[in-house]
């Protein structure tokens, strides 16, 4: 690996100062499961690596049934899915966190890092879009919030400016009769990159037969993860039925502009959007019928 300097600041102010004043390229290290590989293989370049796992704000998991979830950007996936309260309230996030790489990867890799790596096929991002989460970013010029669906700008690129740092991902509370699911299509059982990934979240009415509102996020169908806005908005007020899910799947295909590669053709990926939207909506609805905010 090319030589670089290493720092593990203890405060946010110190970290943003280091990142903004760095001569040359500074890279953030959370779980390291992407950045260390990229540095070793020369895909990214760093003169300074800033380890953000000692920053309390980035290691914080703050859950409240009434206020939602504040998930520190360097919290590893395993801490997300081992938390029973998070698993109950944010199942799409947990579905995704459980299949990012294997167990060893999940012990280190963070949801924030998955977001900042900004792969179009990242597993957690469609689930974050479905959960209507936003990114809390800090930098020399203060704080700003960015909706998750606006965070990625191109494959491997995002809105973070030099000196800025993703601090946390913030989720609205999960109300009763609300739930979600994430699924990806891969040709094997585990340890693969999504051909297509889809996260869906629904809020049902009290009797559980009507969708009050929904959000669908898609991965690996465009240069960045996508919010399927038209499909999501169309579902508002529709019956929780297979026919609704199928129609939402058709509408969601409109935001898919996939490429053809070794994992699948553009046509196949577009077809999978319809399949996964149906499956994740059906699963989210089943879960939502059983979910009560305590």
């Amino acid at each position: 690996m090319k030589d670089f300097a290493y720092a593990a600041p203890a405060t946010l102010a110190e970290a943003t100062k280091m990142l903004s004043e760095a001569n040359g390229s500074a890279k953030v290290l959370a779980g390291g499961t992407d950045i260390i590989v990229q540095l070793r293989e020369g895909l990214r370049d760093a003169d300074l690596v800033v380890d953000v796992k000692k920053l309390p704000e980035l290691q914080e998991v703050n859950f409240s049934a009434t206020h939602g979830l504040r998930l520190g950007a360097s919290v590893p996936c395993s801490r997300v899915y081992e938390d029973a309260k998070i698993a109950a309230a944010y199942p799409a996030l947990v579905d995704a966190a459980k299949i990012v790489g294997g167990w060893q990867i999940q012990s280190r890799a963070s949801v924030g890092g998955n977001l900042c790596n900004s792969s179009p096929a990242a597993d957690t991002i469609p689930s974050l879009i479905a959960h209507h989460a936003y990114c809390e970013i800090t930098g020399a010029n203060g704080r700003r919030n960015v909706p998750v669906e606006q965070f990625c700008t191109a494959p491997g690129k995002n809105v973070l400016q030099k000196g800025e740092l993703l601090v946390a991902i913030v989720f609205p509370p999960a109300l009763s009769h609300c739930s979600s699911a994430y699924e990806r299509f891969i040709p094997r059982n585990e340890m693969d990159i999504a051909v297509v990934g889809c996260g869906s979240r629904v809020q049902l009415n009290a009797t559980g037969d009507t969708i009050e509102f929904a959000r669908i996020g898609l991965g690996a169908v465009a240069p960045t993860p996508k919010y399927a806005q038209e499909a999501s908005e169309w579902l508002a007020g529709k019956p929780a039925s297979e026919a609704s899910y199928a129609q939402a799947g058709e509408l969601a295909k409109k935001v898919a502009t996939p490429i053809s590669d070794m994992r699948g053709t553009a046509e196949y990926r577009t077809h999978l959007v319809g399949v996964l939207v149906k499956r994740t909506l059906a699963r989210a609805v089943e879960r939502a019928k059983a979910f009560k905010n305590p």
Partner: protein, 156 residues
């Protein structure tokens, strides 16, 4: 060259102090500096699992951890399994069940299995296959490994 750092960590239950460059992986430090060559370098990019060690009780890929990140951490390698010249039950089960051929993947499987059995004392076949999915074996076809893990669970 970036400044070398002195790192203190608990390695296999003993306090160890080592000097490393920021760009050195924990795997390089374990093998080349501390001469703990049980952890293997397979792919060196996080796919194969041959370098699996426990870091604060969690299975991690030591090729994807920087040596400097080990500061203050407890690291357990495959060398910690056998005690006083006696193989651990999980090692004995791999041996008796012929759950290896070339053996390069075995240290990683053993360490991951140790973590697995702590999390799931009586794992189902699904638990075993799912949690060992980050460990690749090109020899056995996995069935004998799964059976050895089940046998190790029965000894507990």
């Amino acid at each position: 060259m970036a400044k070398k750092t002195v790192v203190t960590a608990e390695i296999n239950g003993s306090c160890a102090e080592f000097l490393c460059e920021p760009r050195q992986s924990l795997l390089e430090v374990l093998r080349d500096t501390l001469h703990l060559t049980g952890s293997k370098e397979g792919c060196n990019n996080g796919n194969c699992g041959a370098c699996t060690v426990l870091m604060n009780g969690k299975p991690v890929l030591s090729c994807l951890v920087l040596g400097v990140e080990a500061e203050g951490a407890a690291i357990e390698t495959v060398e910690s399994l056998a005690q006083n010249g006696q193989l651990a039950p999980v090692q004995q089960c791999f041996l008796e069940g012929a759950a290896l051929q070339c053996g390069i993947c075995t240290p990683g499987f053993l360490v991951a299995t140790k973590a697995l059995l702590e999390k799931f004392p009586q794992p189902s076949e699904h638990d075993i296959r799912f949690h060992l999915a980050n460990n690749l074996c090109r020899c056995t076809g996995y069935d004998k490994i799964v059976k050895a893990v089940q046998a190790a669970a029965e000894t507990r």
